[in-house]
């Protein structure tokens, strides 16, 4: 397949939590009022790979998100680092399950194809930082009838063939996939770039194609969220800083592991 490589990259607006989280009163969602929202690490790497692949292949990157109107914030951040078009399928995220999301993204791919823009590569994160469903990429590929590889760290495309590398159980695995294909990305293989000033300016100007969902969502089956029981500290503090070293070595000797 000659010609430019066009890429679609899928990003999700997720609460920016690291460590402890709070839940909304009805126990249905993570309460993000005090933490804000972000784009997860896997997806930042997917965006970076998308931009690299498209630049090398003379193509363009479109970013898509399914969710609340505010997802435009995450879409703009992807636009700021090299994506050039954007789609928002606006829907109440609380009503969406992974199968719904996959169907909506597939609908965008088909619709754009009908209008002359085809995506050789669809990139997603390996798993969403909030719902951790580990399945939208596979369901999307199934829906589109395209091959899928999950959890890859780097990708290059030559002559319509993607070479992908992933950490497998026995070492680094290489896959070769004819395009078009769906690929999910694990963080760590590439370093996401920072937006440049001109990138931010362009990002503001791009018009986001906003669509309504193509069907009623089936949902995720969530009954509620709960928090794991808090742990009370039981640790005995041996000291602070390097001064604690003698106490540490005393302990290691006492445990019989210091020699």
């Amino acid at each position: 397949m000659a010609g430019p490589t066009n890429v679609l990259v899928c990003v999700k607006r997720v609460p920016d939590v690291s460590g402890e989280v709070m839940l909304t009163e009805d126990g249905q969602q993570v309460d993000a009022r005090h933490v804000g929202f972000t784009l997860s690490d896997h997806e930042s790497c997917a965006v970076e790979l998308a931009v690299q692949v498209a630049q090398a292949g003379g193509g363009e990157v479109t970013v898509v998100s399914v969710g609340a109107a505010e997802s435009v914030e995450q879409i703009r951040s992807a636009l700021g680092v090299g994506c050039s078009a954007a789609v928002l399928v606006e829907a109440d995220p609380a009503c969406l399950g992974p199968a719904d999301v996959a169907l909506e993204i597939a609908e965008v791919v088909r619709d754009h194809e009908g209008r002359g823009t085809s995506y050789d590569l669809v990139l997603l994160g390996n798993d969403a930082a909030d719902s951790g469903d580990f399945q939208v990429p596979v369901r999307l590929a199934h829906e589109l009838g395209r091959p899928v590889v999950t959890g890859i760290k780097t990708a290059t495309v030559t002559d319509g063939l993607a070479r992908l590398r992933a950490d497998g159980p026995d070492g680094t695995e290489t896959y070769e996939v004819p395009l078009p294909a769906v690929v999910s990305v694990m963080e760590g293989g590439v370093e996401p770039r920072y937006p440049t000033i001109s990138g931010r300016m362009t990002a503001k100007k791009v018009e986001v194609e906003t669509r309504a969902p193509s069907r009623e969502p089936v949902g995720s089956g969530r009954l509620k969220l709960t928090l794991p029981p808090p742990t009370r500290s039981t640790a005995q503090v041996l000291g602070e800083g390097p001064g604690a070293a003698p106490a540490v070595v005393d302990l290691l000797e006492q445990l019989g592991v210091a020699r």
Partner: protein
């Protein structure tokens, strides 16, 4: 009938698969003792049947041969689907590994039912409600899995693998799996094998010195490596460290790495996320070193030292040298 997709190494079923079988047995017990069957795809030692029998497995379905030599997610899913038909399974489960999640997501999309990833418990059978890790383990989702088959993966190291009180038959049933050429279009073309002999010594080490993001970079491991050496132990790291390529994956401790159970674990600059804890919670003594006294690892540990690992660890090393020199 419960079907478990079992992943194997040269030694047989891997640890997370045995954990998943243990989970499946508890589900079976709650459901009146429905049989647990297993699906083994690709090369595996013959002894795997006896091993799985000891874990209570009735039938070991096998799909082997040239088509399954190198991993293909599509072909593996096809094999699991064939086993599901043969077993009449109403539950299909696997370990929450990269492979397990991918293969079951494929099965679920083909059968058009939901899949729940990283389940840690179940709450009821009718309706079937599972509890799973979300938000990086910081919250739990109670999810209704109403469709049959119910498809889910079990979070790594969330349960202890245990042999069954009553062994299963472990009878081997080879399956002819009808593959489509498309199923083999995408598979692993090559593997750069890593020397993972380190993983075995990590799992059996009496002392493990751990290092996380606090190491600061690929050059930040000298102190911890020396400490591990002084104590005749191994180095273990967090996922952040392996993701960033600072250290190889076989050194990773946690849900998607090794489960360790040393006499002493010394995590330095590791926050103690639930997925890391899953791999180190059976350590007898934990001595945490961290700048943040509120980090979960510091509060869950047996002993804690508040401080910069780049100052504390060298001081410990020096103290050991000093005492050994008779000083």
């Amino acid at each position: 009938m419960i079907l478990v997709y079992v992943e194997t190494t040269a030694d047989g079923a891997d640890e997370v698969s045995l954990e998943t079988i243990t989970f499946a047995r508890s589900l079976s017990a709650a459901g009146g003792g429905v049989p647990v069957d297993a699906m083994v795809v690709g090369p595996a030692p013959d002894s795997v049947a006896d091993q799985l029998a000891a874990h209570g497995v009735r039938t070991v379905y096998r799909a082997d041969g040239a088509d399954f030599e190198r991993f293909s997610g599509a072909a593996t899913a096809r094999a699991v689907l064939a086993a599901r038909e043969a077993a009449g399974a109403v539950v299909v489960t696997a370990g929450g590994t990269n492979r397990g999640n991918e293969v079951l997501a494929r099965v679920a999309s083909q059968v058009e039912v939901p899949m729940a990833a990283n389940v840690v418990a179940f709450e009821g059978l009718s309706p079937f409600v599972v509890v799973r890790q979300v938000v990086g383990g910081a919250a739990l989702e109670h999810l209704r899995l109403g469709h049959r088959p119910a498809i889910f993966t079990v979070a790594g190291h969330a349960v202890e693998p245990a042999a069954a009180e009553t062994p299963g038959q472990g009878s081997v049933a080879p399956l002819e799996v009808a593959l489509d050429p498309a199923d083999l279009a995408v598979r692993v073309v090559s593997v750069e094998k890593q020397d993972d002999s380190g993983a075995d010594s990590l799992k059996s080490a009496r002392v493990v010195v751990g290092a996380g993001r606090g190491a600061g970079g690929p050059d930040g491991f000298d102190g911890v490596t020396e400490l591990a050496k002084l104590l005749g132990g191994s180095l273990g790291v967090s996922r952040v460290v392996t993701s960033l390529g600072w250290r190889p994956h076989h050194e990773q401790v946690g849900q998607t790495g090794s489960r360790i159970s040393p006499e002493v674990y010394i995590p330095c600059g590791i926050s103690g996320a639930i997925q890391h804890w899953a791999g180190c919670s059976s350590s007898k003594v934990i001595l945490a070193i961290n700048t943040d006294p509120e980090a979960p690892m510091m509060t869950k540990a047996t002993y804690a030292v508040v401080g910069d690992m780049h100052e504390v660890v060298p001081a410990i090393n020096e103290e050991i040298h000093r005492r050994r020199a008779g000083g």
